[in-house]
């Protein structure tokens, strides 16, 4: 049976009435019209659906809404503050680190999580952390460059 869940997303609280096993991805996209978070595989293999949950990257396609009580979710739409892009967003733009850009939301959210939790990651750290995100267009070298750049641009924690 559907139940009511209060979800804290991008600093706002949303009340949704869904099945307990409904994925956060489906709620974001179908109920809240937050379509910046993408479907790519439904099995946590591609990273297109990555969001931050309490500051850490999680695959929203595998996250049931019933597990989110008291937690804070940030999606790609919640990253910029008014006109001010998060340093990772800015670095992706500066490096042209995208082609079709369908993976970009997930890439950015994963990168923000990495930088949230680690000072000045090495290239090996970046590769290891980002290994779960697929860019089918093959912009990987530029994405690594963008993360390096954002890392040196100074910390801007997102929780």
């Amino acid at each position: 049976m559907p139940s009511k869940y209060d979800l804290k997303i991008n600093g706002q609280t949303f009340s949704v009435d869904v099945q307990p096993d409904a994925s956060l991805l489906s709620v974001l996209r179908e109920q809240l019209d937050l379509t910046g978070t993408k479907y790519g595989c439904g099995e946590g293999q591609c990273g297109a659906c990555t969001v931050l949950i309490d500051g850490r990257a999680q695959r929203s396609c595998l996250t049931p809404v019933s597990t989110l009580a008291g937690k804070s979710v940030v999606t790609i739409e919640g990253l910029a503050k008014a006109d001010h892009l998060h340093p990772v967003q800015q670095a992706f733009l500066d490096e042209g680190a995208m082609q079709c850009a369908y993976c970009t939301s997930g890439m950015i959210m994963s990168a923000v999580s990495l930088l949230n939790n680690r000072e000045n990651p090495s290239d090996a750290d970046i590769l290891q952390f980002m290994q779960g995100n697929i860019c089918r267009c093959g912009s990987y070298p530029r994405i690594v460059a963008a993360i390096r750049k954002a890392s040196s641009a100074g910390k801007e924690l997102v929780r």
Partner: protein, 721 residues
């Protein structure tokens, strides 16, 4: 060899998806046929299929040689000075929204921020066959330059008339016409006053030469990049309408299976769920994806399967299942048989090419809405007009009743030429009397889309005492004819493509069969060079006259350090060629860990000449991306199938290149400002597989004759990562 575009000779044979009938012809063409039964609606139709061939793809209406000549078909200057440009080309990640905007900004002398492209909306843009074959830059970029230059001349004339002066005295800059003598100026908006520019393009094209470009030729950033890093951009799968339902197709358990019977009682009891059956098409629509999935799973369907071959027997199957009646005569020159009979320096090789999947990160998606008998579909496709034709055929509609819109989508790589999701969404929407969105799952994308054709390639050559090739025979079974002709100078040649009854649905893939044909040719070249202990670069240059191809090999080799001493346990390889009007040579450095017998691609460099660079940053992005994608097909990607099912239909089972698979990559762009600009999305993928294979051969002596290479190497005790 001739340098004529393949388009002049028709479409390549391996664009199978364009030569095939539309995937489903619906029986029910009329609204009054439907019965609405409250919450659960059930529609039954006769289960017969008519065969009709789609004319799209072969539609010569508005061919590249016959584009509209009216300026206003392509460009409009708004009352606010904003420039709206209309093109049937679509943005799929290749960054043409930016490069085409640059062309307009350059010739029209306006800031690029004022240029807005309407792309792929069949109601608003001139007919376009589709965004494939690397035709955007050589054709559309040039066309929009001509249009913009013509518009600029119209503006100059308007100002000259207004000021009663000679247009030759005036200049255009920054969206204004200026008269340097009198210091008068007028904005484009003031001159045009919202009127359409109905003038025709002049036969002569006074275009700005590439050497004088200020906006074109520059590494302009993606024009709407901010919308992509903020999640604001709406991809086809993101579109939503009021009252919209979510569709889900009940798929057969195997290819070729037909629907015998089904029971949808349980599914129809779910509130808001509607079930549609039309021939072998069985699907549901529901208020959410979750409910649609639940309803589809609740349908008990009985399917009749037919026997299917498996990937284990693939290559033998391809040789055994040729379609002799569709085989065209071989390309022949000289007398191959005579040379082979008399030569004692002969070498032969056979190559296997697996099926691979495009796996675009955004699966096929479509949102369909009916307004009376007017159908509007937003969908991810490289061929909006082709999809419109499919809808016209499938629903028995006049063309003017169908509008297809293509929002910038999550990539295609040649995989989104058909309208499968559009047909499904439209069929459901018609039955439901609601807008319906269909987004394929990853498993559907891996199963029901079409694949890059598998193939077998056989090469034989003969060599003279002077190290020059004397005879060349090349046969390609099934994979395709693109890039099949050799660019090396061989006096005696026989080259032939052999069509085959493919066990899987197959079609276009980035660079088509040029990847497979270059792989076989370039790997064979190294083996011949090795047989006479000649350096692979020297051997190529000895057999190659084409100046631009020599240039990419020679300049690339220099930058790569081909002649520099190699580290112990490192091998170098190269592969290159000519395709889609671009010249490319790729060099790879592969290392071997002798203890673990692990091979690793360490470094790759690609030299590329695509004429005058319109956007060097965009070309570099395409080039690196093509090499990354090419690594997948070269090393590990292969579709496995059995009994009409895809065995590896998920990313957890089908490996695609990831961050750690990427070697150090470099690009050498040769900016030929004296040559026309051509496409960069396809040719750069050609060199990586042979370059890696040749490096492995140099390092281990093992010939790598399969795409992908890793399985055969693994069988010989080597791991290739």
């Amino acid at each position: 060899m001739t340098r004529r575009s393949e388009f002049a000779e028709g479409l390549e044979p391996e664009r199978y998806e364009l030569h095939s009938p539309v995937s489903v012809i619906f029986e029910s063409g009329r609204r009054d046929f439907f019965k609405f039964l409250g919450a659960g609606v059930f529609i039954a139709c006769a289960a017969t299929k008519t065969a009709a061939f789609q004319e799209s793809g072969k539609n010569h209406r508005g061919s590249e040689d016959d584009l509209p000549r009216e300026i206003d078909a392509w460009l409009h200057i708004g009352g606010n000075g904003e420039i709206t440009v209309f093109t049937g080309k679509v943005e799929v990640g290749q960054n043409i929204r930016t490069s085409l905007s640059q062309a307009v900004a350059e010739e029209l002398c306006v800031p690029i921020a004022r240029v807005h492209l309407v792309m792929g909306d069949t109601q608003l843009v001139p007919f376009d066959m589709g965004t494939f074959g690397s035709r955007t830059t050589p054709v559309m970029n040039l066309q929009l330059r001509r249009v913009s230059a013509a518009a600029r001349d119209v503006l100059l004339s308007l100002a000259a008339k207004q000021w009663n002066t000679d247009a030759a005295q005036l200049t255009a800059a920054d969206g204004k016409i200026l008269d340097p003598k009198s210091n008068r100026s007028a904005t484009y908006a003031e001159l045009v006053q919202g009127q359409r520019l109905t003038q025709l393009l002049p036969p002569e094209d006074p275009l700005i030469p590439a050497a004088q470009w200020k906006v074109a030729g520059q590494p302009v950033p993606k024009v709407d990049g901010r919308d992509f890093v903020t999640g604001k951009h709406r991809y086809p799968s993101d579109f939503k309408l009021p009252r919209m339902l979510y569709g889900k197709v009940v798929r057969p358990p195997s290819f070729g299976a037909t629907l015998v019977s089904f029971d949808a009682q349980t599914a129809q009891q779910i509130p808001g769920v509607m079930v549609v059956r039309d021939g072998d098409f069985l699907a549901v629509a529901a208020p959410s994806t979750a409910l649609a999935v639940k309803a589809a799973a609740a349908i008990q369907a009985e399917w009749k399967s037919v026997p299917q071959p498996s990937s284990k027997e693939l290559f033998g199957y391809l040789k055994k299942n040729q379609i002799a009646s569709e085989r065209e005569p071989a390309y022949e020159t000289g007398n191959v048989d005579k040379i082979f009979a008399s030569s004692d320096r002969r070498l032969s090789g056979s190559f296997d090419i697996a099926y691979i999947a495009h796996a675009p990160l955004e699966p096929r998606a479509a949102l369909a809405q009916w307004n009376g008998d007017q159908l509007t579909v937003w969908t991810g496709t490289q061929r909006p007009f082709g999809v419109r034709s499919e809808l016209v055929t499938a629903f028995h509609l006049p063309e003017e009743k169908v509008r297809v819109l293509m929002p910038d989508m999550g990539s295609g790589y040649g995989g989104k030429h058909t309208g499968d999701a559009a047909l499904e969404a439209a069929r459901l929407a018609r039955a439901a009397n609601h807008p319906v969105k269909v987004v394929w799952t990853r498993e559907e994308e891996f199963t029901w889309a079409y694949f890059r054709p598998a193939g077998v390639i056989e090469v034989s050559s003969a060599l003279g005492a002077d190290g020059k090739l004397t005879a060349w025979e090349f046969h390609n079974y099934n994979s395709g004819g693109a890039g099949i002709r050799t660019y090396y100078d061989v006096p005696n040649q026989r080259i032939q493509f052999h069509p085959v009854n493919s066990p899987l649905r197959q079609g276009s893939y980035r660079a088509l069969a040029a990847t497979a044909n270059h792989f076989a040719r370039e790997v064979h070249m190294d083996e011949v060079a090795a047989s006479i202990k000649m350096d692979p670069l020297q051997f190529r240059l000895k057999n190659l006259k084409e100046e631009r191809l020599r240039a990419v090999f020679e300049q690339g080799a220099r930058q790569f350090g081909w002649d520099k001493p190699r580290q112990a346990n490192h091998g170098f390889g190269m592969g290159g060629g000519y395709e889609k009007l671009g010249y490319i040579a790729t060099f790879a450095d592969v290392s071997l860990n002798p203890t673990t017998k692990t091979l690793k691609v360490e470094r790759v460099l690609t030299a590329f000449d695509c004429g005058a660079l319109v956007n060097p940053d965009g070309v570099r992005n395409q080039l690196i991306g093509a090499n990354v994608m090419g690594i997948g097909g070269a090393i590990f990607e292969a579709i496995e199938f059995e009994n009409g099912r895809i065995l590896n239909n998920r990313f957890s089972k089908y490996r695609v290149p990831r961050f750690r698979d990427v070697p150090v990559m470099d690009a050498l762009l040769i900016d030929r400002k004296d040559r026309p600009s051509v496409g960069a999305g396809e040719a750069p993928i050609l060199g990586i597989a042979p370059a890696i294979a040749n490096a492995i051969y140099a390092l281990t002596g093992i010939p790598a004759h399969s795409l992908p290479m890793a399985p055969a190497l693994s069988a010989r005790g080597y791991q290739l990562s």
